[in-house]
């Protein structure tokens, strides 16, 4: 299968979602990615789940399977000098090395030495604060990454009582994954640079940084007006631009422009209250939202979210359902684009995961190849690729090198 990243040879050492996601994105589009795991225990994401029936299973962790499909997997004890020696040999084969580890671990690996010995090699590091940060040895998890990025502070929208509403993180592992995406992006950039110059690069990514940059609106406010609104004093100026409850769930109604509101009124049958002068334009509706909101809510309680969304969109209103996870599984749009792909799972015949967020006239993806079992490709990589003998391989096992 001819894919754009054919020819990109990647080694991934990642005990984190960020590093694994970086490797996944490269593998999905044709890179040859060899994932190195600790002998015995393997990658931390093998313990992350979710698991079938909540039963932990190191070969059945949903996140591990998603993050590591299309990769080869080996074990290697990188704490052992011989393990690091083998890594050194692998680095002369690879053009990209992904390190999704704590900074202290990256330093112990001797990454500078690896760069010195392999001038063509690009190393992508994915660490919480970056290799050069004064906080580089800080412990971090997704929770603290997000809070350090500044995003959660403004995430509860129109907060009424700040005391009762702590800053809250975005659901899921957004910092880790946008970090991984940044890694995949820079890995290809670096390969383009190396094509031209023959020299590799060190790319030092801080996982707090990409989410931080998404705070564009507030960055503009503070940089250009010197002031940020306080939590509890932020009020959406134009309404409705709000999550609204309806019969069987919620919708996001975004009448940013007057014609959206007029169209929406048509859909809900132009109720009498709509002609109230207090609702004459978006700003007035914002000012009088406490009055308008219950009226709107009362109307919407008879509408199902799918129905109001369909009718509203047909009429030209930016309205979408607030999807629950089961709504996502049944989303007509994503299903029609074949967005979900079957990801091999030993105990599930059908295990659907996100596939690719784009379609293309040229890039055609094949079936998802299963994530590696722990050490699955040891023989293939150590013997066939790196030239060690079977005897050496046995010795590696005996000495817990692999």
């Amino acid at each position: 299968m001819d894919l754009p990243l054919n020819g990109l040879r990647v080694i991934e050492i990642a005990d984190s979602v960020a590093g694994a996601y970086c490797g996944k994105l490269l593998a999905d589009y044709g890179a040859e990615v060899i994932k190195i795991e600790k002998p015995g225990s393997g990658d931390g994401t093998r313990r992350l789940g979710p698991f079938l029936n909540d039963i932990p299973d190191s070969e059945g962790s949903g996140m591990f399977l998603y993050l590591n499909s299309n990769k080869k997997g080996i074990t290697l004890a990188l704490g052992d000098p011989q393990g690091r020696q083998i890594l050194g040999k692998m680095c002369s084969w690879a053009n990209t090395l992904i390190l999704g580890l704590a900074v202290a671990e990256i330093e112990r690996l001797g990454y500078q030495q690896l760069l010195e010995s392999n001038k063509h090699l690009t190393i992508i590091t994915l660490t919480p604060y970056g290799l050069t940060s004064p906080y580089r040895y800080y412990e971090a998890t997704e929770l603290t990454l997000q809070h350090a990025s500044g995003i959660p502070y403004y995430t509860p929208g129109d907060v009424t009582d700040p005391e009762k509403e702590p800053p809250v993180k975005l659901a899921g592992r957004q910092a880790e994954m946008i970090g991984g995406l940044s890694g995949a992006f820079t890995a290809i950039l670096a390969s383009l640079q190396t094509d031209a110059t023959g020299k590799g690069n060190l790319v030092d990514i801080a996982l707090i940084a990409a989410p931080l940059l998404s705070n564009i609106w507030n960055l503009g406010l503070i940089s250009y007006t010197g002031k940020l609104p306080k939590r509890g004093q932020i009020k959406t100026p134009i309404q409705p631009q709000q999550i609204m409850p309806c019969k069987d769930g919620f919708i996001q109604l975004s009448c940013n422009e007057e014609r959206h509101w007029k169209n929406f009124l048509d859909v809900i049958g132009n109720p009498g209250w709509a002609s109230d002068a207090r609702f004459a334009d978006g700003f007035l509706r914002g000012k009088n939202w406490e009055v308008l909101e219950p009226l709107l809510t009362d109307t919407l309680k008879d509408w199902s979210k799918q129905d109001i969304t369909e009718k509203a969109q047909t009429a030209g209103v930016p309205c979408t359902i607030v999807a629950t996870p089961s709504d996502l599984m049944n989303d007509a749009q994503m299903l029609s684009r074949n967005f979900y792909v079957n990801t091999p799972h030993q105990k599930m015949e059908r295990f659907l995961c996100p596939g690719s967020p784009f379609s293309s006239t040229e890039i055609k993806l094949g079936k998802v190849q299963a994530a590696p079992r722990l050490g699955q490709h040891n023989k293939e990589i150590f013997c066939d690729k790196l030239g060690y003998s079977r005897k050496q391989l046995r010795l590696f096992y005996q000495n817990n090198i692999i």
Binding site: H147, P167, I178, Q252, P325, L328, F358
Partner: protein, 405 residues
């Protein structure tokens, strides 16, 4: 041709940026920072909406005074072209002939209606790489859905799943656009590599919805594996306790703390080993998860006596994950963010010296090109005179005809 003195990954690549608002411009900005020559094609008749959105520098509205536009459109050139005129469309295609990449994110069918769809652009440049991003994608039953960023964030599940459990749900930060911009830039790199190998360009249809759902796989998995339809859990993750954002001393100041099981004893020590720590309700990870609300109340008694920085320092010394929950005020005072180029200063001819978004990485040998967002039509002479080789009379005529406008 390249204005950059050193080799950059995208040196020699030229981009026709038809996009506007957020996701498209953010994609093109990444390309510009990495050495591509990005030509934003705008018009006084069809201004990028962000030029009209505040905040404005000096409190004065003006098409070159928008903070927002400046954030989304750094490192680009800009020419004005009235795409509702036939001549404007022809000239746009001439620009595309000189480009490797075209980016757009208009509503469904808009580029085609302007005669600038993929088939037409291919006639101008057979190996053009065209990236089209949209809320829901360019095919399927919802391809014509109107959607702002919050609509996509709602449709993706992110809004439903985000928020404190006993408070409102939702995501107000501009997340999907940022993610889609980076995703789109990633697809362009894939396409450039493909072109090197095959000589072919391509049309890429990026969905904001799908870009967002890529990063929420665990919720889809839990439905399939355990029939659990998750709802918002705030800062909790069902695996650690304590794990939350706690009130500190100071005006609306908070600290995020996550204590792994192995660190529970160290954490108790950090708090001064208060008696409540020995309560059997908190003895194991399972019991702490079961009594998490009470646990969080007890932890707050300690955190409220300290500032977020104090808590962070105490806990980090013990190897426990903690961070202040920063607001932008704090972050803009953090010098390491400037040292690392996460935040940069740009000098805008009309808005002056301003803090601007940088990049989430630093490298050994790939410099970043940060420049203020262009004034409207700032590079007309370069684009029409130099790139397209028009002489001043031709250009003046087109200006008078309202084509270069």
């Amino acid at each position: 041709m390249s204005e950059h003195m050193v080799s950059m990954p995208l040196s020699g690549i030229r981009v026709a940026d038809f996009s506007w608002v957020a996701a498209g411009p953010w994609c093109a900005r990444y390309l510009g920072t990495m050495g591509a020559e990005v030509i934003k094609i705008e018009s006084t008749h069809r201004l990028d909406m962000t030029r009209k959105t505040g905040p404005f520098a000096h409190g004065m509205t003006g098409i070159n005074q928008s903070a927002y536009y400046n954030m989304w459109n750094q490192s680009k050139k800009c020419c004005t072209l009235n795409l509702s005129t036939e001549k404007g469309k022809e000239i746009a295609k001439k620009i595309v002939t000189q480009c490797d990449v075209a980016v757009e994110n208009f509503g469904y069918g808009t580029m085609q209606k302007m005669g600038l769809g993929y088939e037409e652009l291919c006639k101008a440049r057979p190996d053009i790489i065209m990236v089209s991003s949209s809320g829901f994608g360019r095919n399927g039953p919802h391809k014509e859905y109107l959607a702002y960023g919050r609509n996509v964030q709602a449709a993706s599940g992110l809004a439903y799943l985000t928020g404190n459990p006993n408070a409102s749900m939702g995501v107000t930060v501009i997340w999907s656009d940022i993610l889609t911009g980076l995703t789109s830039a990633f697809t362009i790199l894939l396409a450039l590599r493909h072109r090197t190998r095959t000589g072919k360009g391509q049309y890429i249809d990026v969905s904001m919805l799908e870009s967002t759902v890529m990063q929420l796989p665990e919720y889809l998995m839990d439905i399939q594996m355990n029939h659990r339809d998750a709802c918002r859990a705030g800062n909790l993750n069902g695996q650690s306790a304590p794990c939350n954002c706690y009130r500190c001393a100071g005006d609306d100041k908070w600290v995020a703390i996550e204590v792994s099981n192995e660190k529970w004893d160290s954490f108790c020590e950090a708090m001064g080993n208060p008696d409540w720590c020995k309560n059997p309700s908190f003895a194991t990870i399972a019991s702490r998860l079961e009594n998490q609300e009470r646990l969080d109340q007890m932890v707050t008694i300690w955190t409220k006596r300290h500032t977020p920085n104090e808590i962070t320092a105490i806990l980090q010394r013990l190897g426990i994950s903690a961070s202040p929950s920063f607001d932008l005020d704090d972050l803009l005072k953090e010098s390491s963010l400037y040292d690392r180029g996460t935040l940069v200063y740009t000098d805008h001819p009309e808005m002056g010296h301003k803090v601007s978004p940088g990049l989430q990485w630093i490298t050994s040998d790939i410099p970043a090109f940060h420049k203020h967002a262009p004034l409207l039509g700032e590079n007309n002479n370069y684009v029409f005179g130099q790139l397209l080789g028009m002489n001043p009379e031709e250009i003046n005529l087109l200006i008078m005809e309202g084509v270069i406008s």
